[in-house]
Structure formats: structure tokens, C-alpha cells
């Protein structure tokens, strides 16, 4: 051993840090909403004209709140996981929040969409998407202008919230849910909250 080994030592410490860092997701920012009541809203339900829904309707149940849109590529990747979750049917409802169906789509020039057509067009696209890919949702509410998304601090689609029986947000996941995250994080949490 000699004193020149300290450089090597420092390098090894750096490598350990980087190796740990590889398993972390820097985009996974904790939400300040965790532990707080789910922000209230009342939005139109997709496919059931005249119906609206808000978080208080599900008081007493543990439920998932999943933000999606037909233009969101990662949602397509996540979707089978949700469909599988719904099919396994442990009774946990998933509520979809369709987020800025038209306004969020970069391929659409909103200046060319007449204001009165925005809602019907969005409903048509959203229900079409669920028809092709399967519908895991108890129901989907339409956040056409993205205001509810602002209340929930949505900054990337998809996002998923786990909300407990008293209406408190217990977890937030940004980005698509992988089977691993579903099995290791979401399912245990739901089981625990259901106790």
C-alpha cells in the first residue's frame, strides 16, 4: 500500500455512487400532495351524457386515479398493465382522468378547431381509444382544459394516484406503471389501505 492509492479509493467511492444512481429515477419527484386530501373537482363522465363525478363519490373506497390521453405514447405502453389490473378484479376501481385530449396533442393546431367542436371531438377520440385498447376504468372524466390537472400537479402523462378511503392521496407515480411497480408498490399499498 502507498499513499497514491487514495486516488483509486476516491474513484471507487464515486463509482459506487454512480452505480446507486443508475437505479434511481431523477424524474421521480415526490408530490407535495401525498398525505393531503385529493383536490376536489366535478367533471363530465365520458360516455354518460349529463353525468358528472368528483372524488367525494368514492369516499369509503380505495381507488386509483390515472391520468391519460390518447396522444400520450407512454399511456399505450402502460395500458395493458391497467387492463390486467382491472381484469384480476380485486375490486379496486380505477378512475381515468383524460387530460387535455385535444389541447395537449402537439399534432393539432387548436386555432383550426372551432370552439364548439372541441368537446364532441375530444369525447369521440377518447372513447375511440378505449374501444381499441380496452377500458380498464370504472369511468373516465374529461379534463378538457387541464384545470384539474393543474390542481393535481400533473406534469407528465401518464400519472397515477392512490387515494384512500378517506380521500387522502397516499401515493403518486409519474410515468407509466410497469408490472414491477404495480406488484411491488401499488398492490401492497392498496391491500394495506383496504385493511
Amino acid at each position: 500500500m502507498n499513499r497514491y492509492f487514495w486516488v483509486l479509493g476516491a474513484f471507487i467511492a464515486l463509482v459506487v455512487l454512480l452505480a446507486v444512481g443508475l437505479n434511481l429515477n431523477p424524474r421521480d419527484v415526490p408530490s407535495p400532495l401525498v398525505g393531503k386530501p385529493a383536490p376536489a373537482f366535478r367533471l363530465a363522465v365520458l360516455g354518460q351524457e349529463g353525468q358528472t363525478m368528483g372524488p367525494e363519490d368514492l369516499k369509503g373506497k380505495v381507488w386509483l386515479f390515472n391520468v391519460w390521453a390518447s396522444w400520450c405514447v407512454s399511456c399505450r405502453q402502460e395500458h395493458p398493465v391497467l387492463v390486467d389490473f382491472a381484469r384480476r378484479g380485486n375490486g379496486t376501481p380505477i378512475v381515468g382522468l383524460n387530460y387535455k385530449e385535444l389541447r395537449g396533442d402537439g399534432a393539432i393546431d387548436m386555432r383550426r378547431v372551432p370552439a364548439e367542436q372541441e368537446v364532441p371531438l375530444a369525447l369521440e377520440r377518447a372513447s375511440g381509444w378505449l374501444k381499441t385498447h380496452g377500458d380498464p376504468y370504472l369511468l373516465t372524466v374529461m379534463d378538457i382544459d387541464g384545470r384539474v390537472g393543474i390542481d393535481y400537479g400533473v406534469y407528465g402523462v401518464p400519472e397515477t394516484y392512490v387515494i384512500d378511503k378517506t380521500g387522502i392521496i397516499r401515493m403518486k407515480h409519474t410515468g407509466p406503471i410497469s408490472p414491477q411497480i404495480l406488484n411491488e408498490k401499488i398492490l401492497p399499498l392498496v391491500a394495506e389501505l383496504n385493511k
Binding site: 502507498n2 497514491y4 492509492f5 486516488v7 483509486l8 474513484f11 471507487i12 464515486l14 463509482v15 455512487l17 454512480l18 452505480a19 446507486v20 444512481g21 443508475l22 434511481l24 431523477p26 424524474r27 421521480d28 419527484v29 415526490p30 396533442d105 402537439g106 399534432a107 393546431d109 387548436m110 386555432r111
Partner: protein
């Protein structure tokens, strides 16, 4: 067919790199001339294969071959030809191939310009480069193959990220990579010297021009990137302390330290171990930068599409390259002798101080860059480290560096006299102080930090001039003044020019950070806004059609004191392939100031002919920032061509 040829060429080049990286090194160790002699032809074949492979990928882009995944992801048939070519390095896979191309050319350059290098030494240098290339090629072939096919092909590609469709991108990455990769040569020389156990003045002299060359490229590459961000991102900044910027800045700081330390090693045989360690560090930091950018451990505006297997591969590669180098260093360093003694005040001690400060500043940047990762890894939460940290920590370390820059050229090697230096430079200090007090007062507002910046810049400028002319008159003899100026060694002139570049840079930073003005305003056509005496009259916005985008182009009349200067046309572009609108700022550049307009959004999206959010800037001396970098590079370039490097090599050749 052609992409497959490129792929095969790349596989063959990996085999050649493995041969280059093993046989000559073993041959050098065991003294087998035939194996040593393999280094030169293997380098030629290697460079040829990699170049061919790169051309194949370029052809796929030019021919719009969207059956290649990488081409389909980064190009489009509407993309103009110059951007189709630069799109070759617009993504992860292709930029790695570009990296490889540069590395093969550096190896080829070493082989061509080092005819006088002893064969054994050359074999070790090229062999080391070969091994590093082999590692990179494995990385490309196994995790990032740019030639992968998409079958069946698609009719149209996804297009190049609009941010990258800019002349700046055509040159920024190649320059930067030339710099990064160039440090591999200094690294290879250091490893070769460690292997041979001969860390002598000759080794330092051979390393110097290569290190300087890499440094010149890196300086230009960083400056180019900074300039590009300034005019392309539309918010007027030039440096953001983004992790990826830091990743390029750290090798620059260490490379700067290395150049200075090499000078001491060459002239006086001092700091040999230190120099070797810096050479290893500069290249290691280039690799670390690659890891940070491409593994996704840090969030950054530059983030490439990330893939965990890539991160693991680069990490293993990093461990292999840096770990073995540092182990070799730890094993060999104790047997390396110390250089000549030197006094407390001497050129050596000043260079050493400069080195320590540069390394400390690099360490602060490294700490700030990795700190979010460290805190996250310890489970202590998410934080981000931004400009306030870097400004607070980096600037104080740089102040003494700038101060010493003025003194060091006056100090003699071995032992210098402090009173003598003081006598020489006191007028320079006085002159700098006058400028530092006068300039802020002319600009109407006293700012202490700006005054300090100007003081240091003036100090460097005047001491450089003083030192240069002292030497010119001392060596003049019977010649004319001009003849004496031009007979100075290139490395001496280059050093002072580079230092002056630093002074120019400091002036730019000091002035723009204090006296810039910006206004965010809502403007209707016909309205006028005034910033620092310039008035901008908004004439409205019209639709303009580009090759692969549609733009809203604004028109502004720039005038001063009622005198019309020019029209400015900032644009807001919507590329067909992307949902993100792009801002093209309009800049009236000048030696003393830039005025800069960028279009925000229309206040009412339905009425683009109505009011717009507009940003106008007045930026005094901002171009000095990049001008200073160009002068620094020019200084490096001149120093590189010092006669001494060529002459000594020639005499070395005669002896051999």
C-alpha cells in the same frame, strides 16, 4: 446493403482495435520488434474502417434510408441536406460513431506526426488508444448500434429535433468531441510513460502539443455550445450550469491545469506524478461526462434517450479504464523521482498554485453536479443545484487564478525575487485600477463585482503586454522592433494571447452580468418599447413557410435617438414533426453590445395579428465572452506550432 457494409466495417474495426490494443503493448513489454511494428499499419487500417463505417451511416441519411431505425428516428425527407448530414450525430448512436471516428483520426494523427517518436513508445501510445477504442466499439456494437434495421421500413422519418436544426449544431458536437477525445491522446502518452517507467522531459514535450490541441478544440466546442444556447433558446443566457455543460467544463478545467503542469514538467522535471494524474483525470472526466449524459442518472436539457443497460456498460467501461489507470499510477508513482528543487516564490510554485486552484474549482463543479445524485442515493430527498451555488463557489476560486495569471510570466524558474516582480508589475496594476474605476462610472452605476472583474481583466491584459515587450526589447539586439516581435517563440506569444483571451472573456462576463437590461412586454403592432436607449417598434407578425416548418415572423424596427438602425425579424417556428414551438431570436450583434428580440406567444392565440408577448434585451459586451474563447483557442493554436516541438523531434529522429 450499404448500412450492412458499415456494420461489418465497424465489427472489423473492433477486431483491429483489439489487435492494436494487445500485440504492440505486449510486444513493447517483451521486446518483440515485429509486434511493435504492428502498431502503425493497424492504426491505418483501423482509421480507414471506422471512417468507411461513418460514411455508410452518412449515406443512409443522405439517401433517406428509413429502413434503418436510427435514420428513421432522426431524419425526414423534408429535412434540408446539410441537416440530414448533421443529423448523423443528432442522436445517441450516431454521436458515438462520430466520437469513434474522431478517436480513430486522433490515433492516425499521432501515428503520422510522431515519426520521430521511439517505436516502443509509439507502440504503447497507439496500443493504449486501441484498447480504449475497443471498449467504445463494444459499447456501440452491443448497446447502441446505429445500423440496426427497421423491417419493414417506414415511408417517412420522424425528423431531427428542431432545436438541433441549426448551423450551430453542425459544428458544436464535432468540436466538443474532438476536445473530449483529444484528451485520450494525452492520456495514452501518460499511460505509455507509466508503462515504460520513463516520465522524463521528452515525454512531457511530446504530450504538450497534443494536450494543447485537444484543449483548443474543447474551448471552441464549449464556446460554440454556449453561443448556440444564447441565440437558439431565446432567453438570452449563455451558461446555465446544467449537468451536461458541467460535464464538458470539468475536463476543460483539468485540461487547463494539465497544460500548465506539463510546462513545468518539460522545463524543470517537476510535478511528474501530478502531471500524469492530471492527464488520466482529464480523460476520465471526459468519460464521466459521457456517463452522466447518456445513462440518465441526472436530468438535463441535453438528456439523450436513456437506457439502463447503456448506463451499466459505460460504468463498467469507466471502471476498467480509470480503475486500471489509477492502479497503474499507484503502482508506478512511488518510483518516480521528484523534479528539481524550487523556492517559495518561483515559476514552479506559481504554476503549482494555479494547478491546485483549477483542480479545486473542478472539484466544486463536480460536487455541485453530483450532489443531487448523492442526496437522492442517501434517500434524503430531491434537490437540484443551480447557478447560485456555482456562482458563489466557483467565482472566488477563480479570482486568485486570474490574479496569478498576471504574475507568473514574470517569475523565473527555480527561484524568483518578489520585489523584482513587484517592481515590474506595479504600473500594470495601477493602470488596471484606473480602468476598473472608470468603466463602471462611465456606465453610470457602480458595481463592485464588475469593477473587480475589470480590474483583473485589465491586470492580465497589461501584465501580458508588459511581459511581452520586456522580452522583445531584451532579445532585440540590433534588429528592428517588429523583427524582434516576430522572432519570439510561438509558445511564448501563444501563452500571452491565450491569457488575453481570458481577460476579454472576463470583461464580457463582468459587463453583461451587471449592465444587461431586459424587458418582458406585451406589444400590439405599432407600439414601441425602449431599452437602454434603443427603441423597438413592433410592425406585426406574418406567416412564413419554411422547408419543414411554418413560422410566425415578427418585424421590429430598431432605432436609436430617432435614427433607424435595422429591421429585426424574430420567429416562432412550428415544425411539422414536433409539438414544441421553437424560438428564433433576432439579434443585432456588435462589438460593444447585442440587442436581442425574441417572440413569446400571441396574447390571444386566435389573433396572431394582434398583441404578442415580446422579450427584448440589451446585452453590453456579451460577444466578448465568445470572442475571448476564440482568442484563447487561437493562443493555444499558435503555441502548438512552436518550432521547438518540431526541431527537437527532428534531432531525436537523427539519433534514432
Amino acid at each position: 446493403m450499404i448500412p450492412e457494409l458499415g456494420h461489418f466495417a465497424l465489427i472489423f474495426s473492433a477486431i483491429v482495435a483489439l489487435l492494436l490494443g494487445t500485440l504492440p503493448l505486449i510486444g513493447a513489454h517483451q521486446g518483440r520488434p515485429a509486434w511493435i511494428a504492428l502498431a502503425r499499419p493497424a492504426t491505418d487500417v483501423f482509421a480507414l474502417l471506422v471512417t468507411f463505417s461513418f460514411l455508410c451511416l452518412t449515406w443512409a441519411f443522405i439517401a433517406n434510408d428509413f429502413s434503418v431505425v436510427y435514420v428513421a428516428q432522426h431524419s425526414n425527407s423534408l429535412l434540408p441536406i446539410e441537416y440530414r448530414i448533421s443529423a448523423v450525430w443528432g442522436g445517441h448512436e450516431g454521436s458515438l460513431l462520430l466520437w469513434m471516428l474522431m478517436m480513430s483520426w486522433w490515433a492516425l494523427a499521432v501515428r503520422l506526426f510522431s515519426r520521430q517518436l521511439p517505436d516502443v513508445m509509439l507502440a504503447r501510445v497507439l496500443g493504449t488508444l486501441g484498447l480504449v477504442c475497443f471498449g467504445f466499439l463494444l459499447f456501440i456494437l452491443f448497446t447502441s448500434n446505429p445500423f440496426e434495421r427497421l423491417l419493414p421500413g417506414v415511408a417517412e422519418g420522424r425528423d431531427l429535433n428542431p432545436l438541433l436544426q441549426d448551423p450551430g449544431l453542425i459544428i458544436h458536437p464535432p468540436l466538443l468531441y474532438m476536445g473530449y477525445v483529444g484528451f485520450s491522446v494525452a492520456y495514452a502518452f501518460a499511460i505509455a510513460a507509466l508503462l515504460s517507467g520513463k516520465l522524463d522531459a521528452a515525454w512531457a514535450r511530446w504530450s504538450r502539443p497534443w494536450t494543447t490541441a485537444a484543449w483548443v478544440f474543447l474551448t471552441l466546442g464549449i464556446a460554440m455550445g454556449s453561443w448556440w444556447a444564447y441565440y437558439e433558446l431565446g432567453w438570452g443566457g449563455w451558461w446555465f450550469w446544467d449537468p451536461v455543460e458541467n460535464a464538458s467544463f470539468m475536463p476543460w478545467l483539468i485540461g487547463t491545469a494539465l497544460m500548465h503542469s506539463l510546462a513545468a514538467t518539460e522545463k524543470r522535471g517537476s510535478f511528474k506524478n501530478w502531471t500524469v494524474l492530471l492527464a488520466i483525470s482529464a480523460f476520465s472526466l471526459s468519460l464521466l461526462g459521457t456517463f452522466l449524459v447518456r445513462s440518465g442518472v441526472l436530468t438535463s436539457v441535453h438528456a439523450f434517450a436513456t437506457d439502463p443497460t447503456r448506463g451499466i456498460f459505460i460504468l463498467i467501461f469507466l471502471v476498467a479504464v480509470v480503475g486500471t489507470s489509477l492502479a497503474l499510477f499507484a503502482w508506478r508513482a512511488p518510483s518516480v523521482g521528484l523534479g528539481g528543487k524550487f523556492g517559495l516564490v518561483s515559476r514552479e510554485s506559481l504554476l503549482l498554485t494555479n494547478n491546485v486552484l483549477l483542480v479545486v474549482s473542478c472539484a466544486t463543479v463536480l460536487l455541485g453536479t453530483l450532489y443531487p445524485l448523492l442526496i437522492d442515493a442517501l434517500g434524503l430527498g430531491k434537490i437540484s443545484v443551480g447557478p447560485p451555488y456555482f456562482d458563489a463557489v466557483f467565482v472566488p476560486v477563480m479570482v486568485p487564478v486570474l490574479f496569478l495569471m498576471g504574475i507568473a510570466p514574470f517569475a523565473r524558474w527555480k527561484e524568483a525575487s518578489l520585489p523584482e516582480i513587484q517592481r515590474a508589475v506595479r504600473w500594470a496594476l495601477a493602470a488596471a485600477a484606473v480602468v476598473a474605476i472608470a468603466l463602471p462610472l462611465i456606465y453610470g452605476e457602480w458595481k463592485t463585482l464588475t469593477a473587480l472583474g475589470i480590474l483583473l481583466a485589465g491586470w492580465i491584459l497589461f501584465t501580458a503586454g508588459l511581459n511581452f515587450f520586456q522580452r522583445v526589447s531584451a532579445t532585440r539586439g540590433e534588429r528592428s522592433l517588429l523583427a524582434s516581435v516576430f522572432s519570439q517563440p510561438a509558445s511564448f506569444a501563444g501563452m500571452h494571447l491565450a491569457h488575453i483571451g481570458v481577460a476579454v472573456f472576463v470583461v464580457g462576463v463582468a459587463m453583461v452580468s451587471s449592465y444587461e437590461e431586459e424587458k418582458d412586454v406585451k406589444m400590439a403592432p405599432g407600439e414601441t418599447v425602449e431599452v437602454s436607449g434603443y427603441s423597438f417598434t413592433f410592425n406585426g407578425v406574418q406567416a412564413v413557410q419554411g422547408p419543414n416548418y411554418q413560422a410566425a415572423q415578427g418585424e421590429f424596427d430598431l432605432s436609436m435617438d430617432g435614427r433607424f438602425i435595422r429591421k429585426l425579424n424574430p420567429e416562432k417556428r412550428n415544425y411539422f414533426s414536433s409539438s414544441m414551438p421553437m424560438t428564433e431570436a433576432a439579434i443585432d450583434a456588435g462589438l460593444w453590445r447585442d440587442v436581442y428580440v425574441s417572440l413569446g406567444e400571441p396574447i390571444n392565440p386566435d389573433q396572431p395579428e394582434g398583441e404578442w408577448a415580446v422579450r427584448v434585451y440589451y446585452k453590453p459586451f456579451v460577444d466578448w465572452i465568445w470572442g475571448g474563447c476564440v482568442i484563447m483557442s487561437l493562443g493555444g493554436l499558435i503555441a502548438m506550432f512552436d518550432r521547438r516541438y518540431r526541431n527537437r523531434r527532428k534531432t531525436g529522429g537523427k539519433q534514432a
